[in-house]
Structures are given as structure tokens and as C-alpha cells.
Symmetry: C2
Subunit: 404 residues, 2 copies
């Protein structure tokens, strides 16, 4: 059986994802589609709107065969580590291709872009460091450096967030000479950061903000998602009593920061360059997460970077935890969240070929990295009432989700 990999967050699984899944199946000609998905917290440093189990169900019902969890230490990171974890997870599960969304949908442009980058990599790194030293935030510094080496042209435009992620996947595959074919899929129109819903294809950002603002699924939001997602959103809310957003965690992070010393704060991953003092100072008198973010925000730090930092504070992810990724040539395990019958057939055959364990429930005895997953999951559910929290947390100890 031939498998193709997808790298996603499914937060929530929407029409754009349905389209991407179908296109990927066609383009890869694979028998099995494997999605590696962020778990409780996302790359942008946000709690997922509903938990990974409910997002997994929606994905399986809409054409994905296997859903794997991207470990927290890779998921809540900038694009290079995110790509590293995702591509390696898919590689360990034996995919022969990886499909990714891009503006142009032209794989050749990515391959050529990679060659250009490789030829100019030392110059790019030098430029990047210069811009960062000037106090320019990473995304803008990186964009300027790409521009200088000719990678912001119409054909290969690395100022587009979607292209950056795709390019990171290509880079990871090529740098490690992995036997995986990258396949660029042209995205359906809807800009990554669009804030308005204007039709059945909308950005996850716009869908989420509408859902969280209305605490319900109104007509125009419903039109942007398949029924499976709508059902899972309703089902999760029935069980948890709410959807997840940063404000729900404000009291916990604030309590945490207010009982930490600056030294303890500085030991948290992402709290760098004296940010511990800024966090402490801005914590005084702050009454919401949004207000806190606005107080901390400077030109140097992007919103995303600060949100990631708050995720690490909330989950108590330390710089020491990060050492676990040091000198690792691949991911330490593959965590299976769910599968269809077809996915199961594939995995049964593939299992023997795998070089790392296939983990189907959270058990911290199996791998030290799973302790970090446990903390992340515990932190994610912490905002729920005790009875609901415990019931949902127990999903971590159940066998993977099976969809016929």
C-alpha cells in the first residue's frame, strides 16, 4: 500500500481541508492518507478550539485514513522544528509522498527555490542575523533575507505563510535525503490570516473567531465546514461545556506567573532575552489575556511568538525539556490518535517496518517525551470543570479512535 502524508492542525477541520484531502489523494495516487496533526496546542501558540480526539474524528470521517499526533515540543514551535517533527513522523510511518498547500501549487518552483536557497544559505543566515540584531521580528527579518536571495518572486514567494511552511517541509525532506516526494497542492482562495468569512471556503482563523464570538455555529460558519466537523464541535461542547480559547486559561497563567520567581520564569522555553522581567512587570494589574499580550507586545516579538511562550508557561515546558530534542535524528515515537479500517490495514503491514514505537495511549512510562505530552494535555483540560475535565482527559488512556 502506498501512503501520502499531510501536515495539518484541523482547528477545526473545514471545507478548505476537505478540498486539500481530495486533491492530495488525487495528486499522490496513494491508498492511504496519513495526517500528522498538532495536539492540544497549535503552532501559533493557541489552545485548539476542541480537543485532538474530536478533531481526529472529523478528519477520519472526511477522508483521512490515519491521524498521528505531532508531539508538543515540535508542534508549538517556529516552522523549522514544526516541519522537522512533522516530516519525521510521516517518514517513520512510511509515506512515499507529502502533500502541502501552497499559493501556486507548483512543486517544481519549490524544488528550484530549494536549490537557490542552498546556494545562498550562508548569505541568507548572515542577513537574517543582521536583521534580528536590528530588533526586527523573525518573520520580517526572514522575509527580508529571502528577498535579498531572490525567494520572494511570484514563482516562489517566501513572504506567504503557507509557502514558508511548505518550503520548510521540502527543506527537511531534501536536507535529510528522505525517500519522500513533496507535492505542492494549489490552495483554494482564502488567505491564511483572513478575518472575515465570505463564502464556503474560509480560513481557520475566521471560522474560529466567529465560533468563539458567538459561542455557537451560525449559518455562515456552518457553510464553511463539513457536517462531521459541525457534529464534533457540538459534541465537544456538550461534553466540555465550552470551546477552548486563551481567555479561559488567563487565571491559570496569571496565578502561575504571580507565584514564580524571575529565575523560574527564565527557565521556561521561549522566555528569553530578559522577557521574564517584562512578563512579571506586565502581570501587575492585568485583567485579561488579550490585555496582557498587548502590554508585552513590542516590535521585536510577534504575537505568535509570545503566544507560544505563554503556552510553554502554561504547560510548564522548560528549556531542560527542550534538551530532549538535542541530537535526535528522528522523532522518539509515533502517536496514533485514530484510523479508519483502511488506515488500520496499512498500519498492520507497516508496523513491522517502523524504527520507533507506535504509541496508542498516553503512558509516561514509555518515553520521557510523553511526560511533556501529558503536561500539555493536563494543561489543556485544566480550564474545564473538574468532572468534565476528568472525563475528557481519560480519552488519553483509551485505544485509538476507530472509524469504519
Amino acid at each position: 500500500m502506498k501512503a501520502c502524508g499531510l501536515i495539518v492542525e484541523y482547528n477545526p477541520f473545514h471545507n478548505g481541508h476537505v478540498y486539500h484531502v481530495r486533491q492530495s489523494r488525487d495528486a499522490s495516487n496513494a491508498d492511504c492518507l496519513i495526517a500528522v496533526m498538532s495536539g492540544s496546542f497549535l503552532q501559533r501558540g493557541e489552545p485548539a478550539i476542541i480537543d485532538k480526539f474530536h478533531r481526529t474524528k472529523a478528519a477520519l470521517l472526511e477522508g483521512v485514513d490515519i491521524v498521528l499526533e505531532l508531539p508538543y515540543l515540535y508542534a508549538v514551535q517556529s516552522s523549522d522544528l514544526f516541519a522537522e517533527g512533522a516530516v519525521r513522523t510521516l517518514h517513520e510511518s512510511g509515506v512515499s509522498s507529502i502533500c502541502f498547500g501552497s499559493e501556486s501549487g507548483n512543486t517544481q518552483h519549490f524544488m528550484e527555490g530549494y536549490d537557490v536557497f542552498k546556494q545562498n544559505e550562508p548569505f541568507y543566515r548572515e542577513l537574517l542575523q543582521d536583521y534580528l540584531k536590528q530588533g526586527i521580528a523573525f518573520p520580517e527579518a526572514s522575509r527580508l533575507a529571502y528577498q535579498k536571495i531572490g525567494l520572494t518572486t511570484e514563482e516562489m514567494d517566501l513572504s506567504q505563510p503557507n509557502n514558508i511552511l511548505g518550503f520548510s517541509y521540502v527543506q527537511t525532506i531534501m536536507d535529510a535525503h528522505l525517500p519522500i516526494t513533496p507535492l505542492a497542492i494549489k490552495r483554494k482562495k482564502s488567505n491564511y490570516h483572513d478575518e472575515e468569512i465570505t463564502g464556503p471556503i474560509a480560513s481557520a482563523t475566521s471560522i474560529r473567531s466567529k465560533l468563539l464570538a458567538e459561542h455557537d455555529i451560525s449559518g455562515d460558519v456552518a457553510a464553511t465546514m463539513p457536517d462531521a466537523t459541525i457534529r464534533q464541535l457540538h459534541e465537544y461542547k456538550r461534553q466540555a461545556g465550552c470551546w477552548h480559547a486563551w481567555e479561559g486559561y488567563f487565571h491559570f497563567i496569571h496565578y502561575r506567573v504571580m507565584t514564580m520567581t524571575t529565575e523560574e520564569l527564565a527557565a521556561i522555553h521561549g522566555v528569553d532575552e530578559g522577557l521574564e522581567y517584562r512578563i512579571k512587570k506586565t502581570a501587575q494589574g492585568v485583567t485579561s489575556f488579550y490585555e496582557w499580550m498587548q502590554r508585552i507586545k513590542t516590535k521585536r516579538y510577534t504575537w505568535t511568538r509570545l503566544q507560544r511562550m505563554f503556552s510553554h508557561i502554561l504547560t510548564n515546558t522548560t528549556k531542560t525539556d527542550m534538551y530532549q530534542l538535542k541530537n535526535k535524528t528522528t522523532v522518539p515515537y509515533v502517536r496514533l490518535l485514530g484510523m479508519t479500517r483502511n488506515g488500520q490495514t496499512y498500519l498492520n503491514a507497516q508496523k513491522k517496518e517502523m524504527n520507533v514505537p507506535l504509541v496508542s495511549k498516553l503512558s509516561h512510562h514509555m518515553n520521557p517525551l510523553l511526560c511533556i505530552e501529558e503536561k500539555a494535555s493536563n494543561a489543556y483540560y485544566s480550564m474545564l470543570p473538574a468532572d468534565k475535565r476528568e472525563k475528557l482527559r481519560k480519552q488519553e488512556l483509551q485505544p485509538p479512535i476507530m472509524i469504519n
Copy 2:
């Protein structure tokens, strides 16, 4: 001016306290009564029902001239450290006597008891260690050891909690040869741990449980407290929206434990002898603080000891923090919470004689121990809504309370 010291928790200030204040003034013949009081968290390992500022006001209105705060590291401890911090704080503020409640009200019995103890101290310590090794909880082990050396007689009964505290004060004074006269005051009937209110003199425990159960001040509870306390209880509730009890902190401690490693838990003061594993294990599926306590409780650990441990987890008080008390011959500062005009006159004269700084607001630059006070205060207010929390927390930065 002659000052007399009292050692109390005033949680809340009730008729028994009014009586004790009057008796102390008579017995000591002092011009100024100085109370050293636990702050946000109490010796029994509980959050105070209303904050220290409101408890200070009630005490000042009912005959105390000066209220000093017993630092958290001394307050939430067994009787020896509690007594050490309290007696030293009073000594630094220049008292010539210390009054304490006892069952008999006979100071001579305490002095004689001290002599007996000193003569038998090595034997007592040996016995105590033996009993502890047998898995007997400290209070019972200590009672048995006192019994063997003849200190549970009718005259000097160290199986009574009130006598134990009084005896600790006498011990601290005598061991250090401090120029302070201990004065035992006979307590008005009401046993320390009484759970029922049966008249105008009731135990703090019974008053608190009734207040917390009814969320209001009913007639029979009102009869146990002076008007000043009733007003402060109402006033605090108006400002904070509630009174404080452990259940209000359950989500925070649970979140905290669920995102800590066992190693991190073991670094917390009071988490000893492998309790970190027991805390982690019992955290699974627990839905209230009371349930958690019941799950952890064994014969070896008293309820009080476990509550203290939870205070330290909540406030993030580590074993390293405790080193700050090592090799200290006295308290590092005296924190003034409030005073009457009379108290102010006394302090103005006394200030020059003091060997440690008199701190009137919480500023962590002044002393490293104040960082711990800040954490404790932040943890205490954490359970309140953001706007109320911030308003009340700011009291820490105000000058001391003044009552004419």
C-alpha cells in the same frame, strides 16, 4: 512605654479574642498591645477567611495597638518554627512580656514544665524518633513522648493544642534567654477544635465553618464576634465577592500538580518521603480539594500537615526557600500591618532601638524573604475575579492601616 505581645491568627477576630486582649492588658499592665498575626495562610495550612488587612482592622478596633505580620515561612509551620518566628518578631519590636492562652492560666506550671522538659530533653527526642519511626503521626508521637516524661499531667498537659503552642513560646523565650516575661492567660471555655457554636464564646473553627457553610453571618454566629469583625467580614465580602476557603483554590493546585514533574513536586517544602508520587497518583480523577485530602490522608500524615503541604504547593514555596531561615538568629524584618495612634507613639520611640528593618509595604527589593510573602499574597488573591484581585492585592503597597 511598656509593650506586651500576643501571638494570634484572628481568623476571624471573635469574642474569645476580645476576652484574651482584655486579660492580657490587665495581666501585663502594658501601655501597648502588639499582636503578631499569620498573614494570608495560617498555621493549620489554610487560607485565612478574609485577608490580613481586614483582620488587622478588626483587631485594632477591638483593643490591639499594633498588628505585625508573621512571615509565611514561619506561619505555615509546626509549632516550633511558628513560635520561633512569632517570639522573635515580638522581641524585635521590644515587648517585655508575651501573653498566651492556656487551659489553666498558670504561668508557673509552664516554667516548671520547661525545667522538666530540659532535664529530660534527650530522652524525649529519642522517644519521639522511635514513635515517628513506627509510623505514628507527629502530634500523637509527641504526646506519647511528653507523657513518658511526665508532661501530660493535669497541671501541665501537653496533649492540649493550646498548651503546646504556649509551651513553644516559653521554650523559645527561655532557650534564647530573651528578656521577655511569659504570661499564661486562662482561656474562656471553648475547645480549640470545637465544631459547634454553643454560645457567645466559640472556637474560630466553628465560626469559620458556619460562615463558609452559610455564606453569610447568621444570628448565632454574629453573637460570637464583636461588631468590628462582623463589619470587616461584610466589607471584605463586598470587595472580594466571597470569603476564602481551600475549595476556591482547588483548580489552581490541581492544575499546578498536573503540570509538574514528580521531581519538581519533591522540590516543594513539605513534600517529603515520596509524597510526590502519592500527590500525583491521587490527583487523577479527583474533583474537589476535600476529596483529594481524603485520598492522600494516612495515619502517618495529619490533616494539618497535608494542608500545609498544599499551601506550599499553591504558593510555590520550595525547600530552597526554606534555606533562608537557616542559621538565622532572628527574623529578617518586622512587617507592620496596622496600628492605632497609641501604637504609633510606641513605634516612633521604639524604631531606633530595632535591630531589623520595620517594613511597612511589600517591596521585594527590601529583603529576599519578602519575595516569598509576595508569592503567598499573590496565591491568596488568585481565586478572585481579576478586577477584584488586583484591587485587593494593591493593599500590599499601601502604608499601614491607621486607626484613631
